[in-house]
């Protein structure tokens, strides 16, 4: 178990390092949100949670993962490349003219299940997928990663009530709760908290935990399903892993240069 945790931690560090280099090379990206959900993605893809086969990206029996907070796609791209969904060389072309990997994910990329980037869509799509699985007695699960800012979208709550009504216990939601939207602190804009009680009121099973702890994440994912959809509220830090980015709004889509870039590289132990 301890070896596994060390493996996952090292993967998370590598993912952040590659995301940093991709973003620096492209001159654009969303480092803050990619870093806040890095452990979540690593736990899903390397922790034995998602049933996938990179050689058969459209295999019918696969679990479906939807990155509803599509702007964090750099982290997902790095993981999909590492797992062999597409050649790692594509990462170097990220966001460049004619590239495969654009600023938001779409289904032309192997391993991407839905076009996302506009917030508030993923949970409804995930609910539809989970319902289709129920209708056809298929045993794949659907996992949707949302941001907390995204939970301000009314469509999220439309989907929440729908999923509960249809007892979609094959649907797992995760809120990457880093507390920041693009220009502000979320709680300074809307009363999002108590977020757990809102999901419970909508009929979901809720687990709230440290979104940077692999122990917590794996425990939450591996829980035996109840008769309800499950929402994992993952408390995270935006920009996690680089000290000057952590909790700092400027790094939602800021790109470090010069000395700051070097410092970030050092902190992520990639130089």
């Amino acid at each position: 178990m301890k070896d596994n945790l060390n493996f996952l931690k090292d993967k998370a560090r590598q993912v952040r390092g590659k995301v940093l280099e991709m973003t620096a090379a492209a001159g654009k990206g969303h480092l803050g949100g990619a870093f806040s959900c890095t452990e979540i993605l690593v736990a899903l893809y390397y922790g034995g949670i998602l049933r996938l086969d990179a050689s058969r990206p459209r295999w019918e029996g696969r679990d479906r993962f939807l990155l509803s907070k599509g702007h964090a796609c750099e982290a997902l791209y790095v993981i999909l490349a590492d797992l062999g969904f597409f050649p790692g060389g594509e990462l170097e072309n990220y966001n460049k003219p004619g590239c495969l990997l654009g600023g938001h994910p779409n289904r032309s990329i192997a391993g991407i299940e839905a076009d996302t980037g506009s917030l508030g869509h993923g949970l409804g799509i995930g609910a539809g997928l989970a319902l289709a699985a129920k209708m056809d007695q298929k045993d794949f699960k659907t996992v949707v990663l949302l941001s907390d800012g995204e939970c301000c979208e009314g469509s999220v709550w439309e989907a929440a009530m729908f999923a509960a009504k249809h007892k979609l216990n094959n649907l797992i939601g995760i809120v990457d709760k880093n507390g920041l939207c693009v220009t502000d602190i979320i709680e300074d804009c809307v009363a999002l908290d108590p977020l757990d009680k809102k999901w419970i009121a909508c009929g979901w099973e809720v687990v709230e935990m440290d979104g940077h702890s692999f122990d917590d994440l794996l425990t939450a994912f591996e829980r035996v399903p109840s008769d309800r959809p499950r929402m994992i509220i993952a408390d995270t830090v935006k920009g996690k892993g680089v000290s000057f980015m952590e909790g700092n709004i400027a790094w939602h889509h800021g790109v470090p240069k010069g000395e700051l870039l070097q410092q970030a590289r050092k902190e992520l132990e990639i130089i």
Partner: protein, 333 residues
């Protein structure tokens, strides 16, 4: 396509949903989502095919996203509610979740044009053609009678990508004979004529036929074209139908901006055809007037009498040949 007999006294909603019922009985992949909207024939669908029918309640954005998810899971999905809510409330979900991913989801909107009369702009379906026409992957069907409305259900089912069906409420005379028309072409000439091409869509096709019959008595020969597929527009065939006449009139119960008239004007402009165009539609305003559908159509001069007058007033200035041929008496009232 094998089209069964359909009577003219059938409500067009029933023509569509009865056919969809028959399709869904054969294909369990067909799922119908409604945002709390009913129709007489849906009762049977809900009762007999309860596993294929879901009321998502008043949540149109989620209806579209769920439809996309179901389609990703291998289903062929139809969603149904009133036009403004089926198109504009959830437009971005249609754009991103359905169109960008080219999924087999059919949006069925009821209440075209001013169907809901005095219920006001919240319920009028007069901007939907403009917005839905902007989506590259979208097929837009606007059937005018029970035969083609029934056929539209199957056309939508057989389509691999997104479809939008503008569904009429109520009963209309038959324009098409059962089994007689090929609905793959997107438009159909239903009256021969030489002076003007009158292009209409949906319920306005019936007004166009009536107007053409009256105008013929005034020695104006009007060719009537039903554009039942607004997108993709069959441009080549449309040009062929407009050519040879001296003027083109479009007729729609829809706003001037972005509708059928706009589509035809784009075709004329892009093809450099120097044919004069007159667009009959609802002006660029919201309709707060009270009254039923017919009263509001009259307000916007979309009743037969006003359509005839609009064409007669407009055409002589642009078609000297009519006078040259001694038909001018036809324009004196």
């Amino acid at each position: 396509m094998n089209i069964r007999m359909t009577s003219s006294d059938k409500d067009l909603r029933d023509a569509f949903f009865d056919e969809l019922y028959a399709i869904a009985r054969q294909d369990p992949r067909v799922i119908l989502l409604t945002a709390d909207m009913g129709a007489h024939s849906l009762g049977r669908f809900k009762k007999d095919l309860s596993r294929q029918y879901i009321n998502v309640c008043v949540a149109e954005q989620n209806m579209i996203s769920v439809a996309a998810g179901l389609a990703l899971g291998g289903k062929k999905v139809f969603v149904y509610t009133i036009i403004p809510f089926a198109t504009m409330r959830c437009f971005e979900q249609i754009k991103v979740d359905v169109c960008c991913m080219r999924l087999p989801v059919t949006v069925v909107g009821i209440g075209t044009g001013l169907t809901y009369g005095g219920d006001g702009p919240t319920h009028h379906g007069i901007q939907d053609i403009a917005v839905m026409r902007s989506l590259p992957e979208m097929t837009i069907l606007n059937p005018c009678d029970a035969v083609i409305t029934q056929a539209a259900a199957r056309l939508a089912y057989e389509q691999q990508g997104p479809v939008y069906v503008r569904l009429e409420r109520g009963r209309f005379p038959l324009i098409y004979g059962a089994g007689s028309a090929d609905f793959s072409r997107g438009l159909h000439q239903i009256r021969e004529g030489e002076d003007i091409t009158l292009i209409a869509t949906g319920n306005m096709v019936h007004r166009a036929v009536e107007a053409a019959d009256i105008l013929r008595k005034k020695f104006l020969s009007v060719r009537v074209v039903d554009v039942y597929r607004i997108k993709p527009l069959n441009t080549a065939l449309l040009i062929k139908m407009m050519e040879g006449t001296k003027g083109v009139v479009t007729l729609e119960e829809n706003c001037l901006t972005g509708g059928l008239g706009s589509a035809v004007s784009e075709v004329l402009c892009d093809s450099c055809k120097g044919i004069a165009l007159k667009r009959l539609a609802i002006p660029d305003e919201h309709c707060f007037a009270s009254g039923d559908r017919e009263a509001l159509q009259q307000l916007y001069q979309l009743d037969v009498s006003n359509i005839v007058h609009s064409i007669v007033r407009w055409f002589p200035q642009r078609a000297e040949h009519v006078f040259m041929e001694g038909k001018e008496d036809g324009f004196r009232h």
